[in-house]
Symmetry: C2
Subunit: 350 residues, 2 copies
DNA sequence: TTGTACGCGTTATCAT
DNA sequence: ATGATAACGCGTACAA
């Protein structure tokens, strides 16, 4: 069976290229890898042959040999919300620029799905994995994934040491507490006193923010306990009930778990005839683009989501290359004062 | 070298499992695959061994053999915007539920990057690929990717036959023109006459919408040519200049390329003292969640983004399984009337 | 500078 | 019902 049996577009193999360039398979392989031991002439002719035949190397075969896939695993809670979309986007972009592909899995804040994701990554032999705000404990993560090839993108998390210690290798953190502190300081400086926090779900990041609100108020000598409202995880879809609760005992300002919730709440409060910021000040968290376009524009604690994704990919690739975790990073988080709180700039800014 | 040489966590192989269960490699393989020829007893004992050893199969080796990767490629323009985030999310979710992993690449509306993506998919041997609104022509796509394993998620696109013909196999379309028609009809019925379209970039989907606006107005006997404003691709980031242009010759209503642009414009017009909908009506496109939370809430043409992603994954998997493209799909697109146009419901609805 | 031969871990064919 | 063996496509140690 010679050249005859080429049925509908058989896949081109390395040996086809080699044959065409009249060299051996190994030479072809080396030529394509720009091995300096191969003469420039043959290198060129092999590449020409590869181009003509539209040769595409088989990643499976290659990774079976070299034990690397040039693939990264990215596990995050959800691709829908702007923050994680931004993180994923930046991660993928950085990875692609460095020659890595990325396999994404949305864990949906579900333990089972997250474990499954890790298994999938293991099966596919991703060179490294990055995990964004998982519900699995860091400890379990490091058990299931080679810790030397694992980057954690973690908001200021309770189960990790506080950010004011040294950065933890392989961990990208954000100074959530610092951001909240700045926001609450802004509120207090603007004369707000009766400040409430609107919680969301039961995630750790929520507690961090709640505690930061309370701590800052305490440090400013405001003794009344901070009022807390509880929103379901997806409350932003149907915030009417929550808005009513809040309206029934309206504080002077609301610090919300995130921008989605803040925007939804602002929207629902409007239906109740409550004006922002005249009747109540509102502060969000995340700094999504829509926070800058709402009416009134939302004062928020802005997190560098794109930088988180980029840094995660960059760190992960370095970890893969060096075989050791790079320095951890703590990214700054700051308040952006807009129109939903008093003391901000006059309308028209931003 | 017996059991001694197990240096830092050697990876567990199938033969380790086989050894532990005292069967051959082939039996182990079959047992794990639930091959009925293997006795139930050995099947169980093999699985037990695999579990104890935490065996994880090597996908590279497997796909080298079986020529399938249980991996899907997803190429889309951008993971940042809500629409594609939604599509990606639904795609990944459906794929995962059916046992497939997904490799995403953002093409960023760049020809080179899109071609690179296709090559990456080819190298990794994805079982199929889905392409969302690419800038590459369908023709080129079908040249570079096996057309029997290629799903196109295509808004009502000029280079494809119109949606009112039969659906095209392997293509998920949306009835963009129909949606725009409904929106413009709503405007005309509400008394709007001088209607302008705000374009974005030079993409085909833009033309489809622009033409649909014009055609609908014509069919309603409005003879004045529709005024067109031109926004750069990323105009929503800095819409002030565009807003000034529009304000200088204010039409009665604006139909915008998409919601982001509409929201940004509404925001910028506000700075110019122009009220919506009193001074000008605004219609968006996409139906992103924030359109429902703006002030005033945005009237928009809603596209079923999640369903697009889900359908794409489902179709692709069927294509992979059956070796042939499933029926095409045309998804409905409808106008959602809110507060940014007159004739909508009174404030408080939605 | 280039070619030969082997092995990566798995599944499938063929024998038993 | 199970085992031995070959093959998937590539990279590389070794030989020439």
């Amino acid at each position: 069976m010679e050249l005859t049996g080429d049925s509908p577009r058989r896949r081109i193999l390395l040996k086809d290229v080699a044959l065409r360039a009249s060299v051996s398979g190994s030479t072809a392989s080396r030529a394509l890898a720009d091995d300096p031991r191969i003469s420039l002439a043959t290198r060129l002719s092999v590449k020409a042959a590869a181009a003509e035949l539209q040769y595409v190397p088989n990643a499976a075969a290659r990774s079976l040999r070299v034990r690397r896939t040039r693939t990264l695993g990215l596990l995050l809670p959800d691709l829908r919300d702007p923050v994680h979309g931004q993180v994923a986007s930046a991660f993928e972009q950085e990875a692609r620029q460095q020659g890595y592909s990325v396999m994404v899995v949305a864990g949906e804040r579900d333990v089972v799905r997250e474990r499954l994701a890790l298994r999938i990554f293991a099966e596919h032999g991703t060179d490294g994995v990055a995990i964004v705000s998982s519900v699995l404990a860091p400890r379990e993560l490091r058990e299931r994934v080679d810790p030397a090839r694992l980057i954690l993108v973690w908001p200021d998390h309770r189960s990790l040491p506080r950010h004011d210690g040294p950065p933890i290798p392989g961990v990208i953190q954000t100074d959530d507490a610092g951001g909240v502190r700045a926001a609450v300081t802004h509120l207090v400086d603007s004369g707000y006193r009766r400040i409430a926090y609107v919680e969301s779900g039961v995630r750790d990041s929520n507690s961090t923010r709640a505690e930061a609100v309370a701590a800052t108020l305490r440090s400013r000598g405001i003794r009344a306990p901070v009022r807390r409202f509880f929103a379901a995880v997806d409350a932003w879809r149907a915030p009417a009930y929550l808005a009513e609760q809040i309206a029934a005992d309206l504080p002077e300002a609301l610090v919300c778990y995130d921008d989605q919730l803040a925007l939804a709440l602002m929207n629902a409060l409007r239906d109740l005839g409550i004006r922002v910021p005249e009747d109540v000040g509102i502060v969000g968290f995340d700094g999504i683009p829509y926070a800058a376009m709402s009416n009134p524009r939302l004062t928020t604690v802005a997190v560098p989501s794109a930088e988180m994704g980029r840094a995660a990919a960059a760190s992960l690739i370095r970890a893969v290359r060096d075989g050791a975790l790079p320095e951890g990073v703590v990214l700054p988080v700051g308040v952006v004062v807009r129109e939903s709180t008093r003391g901000g700039p006059p309308p028209g800014g931003d």
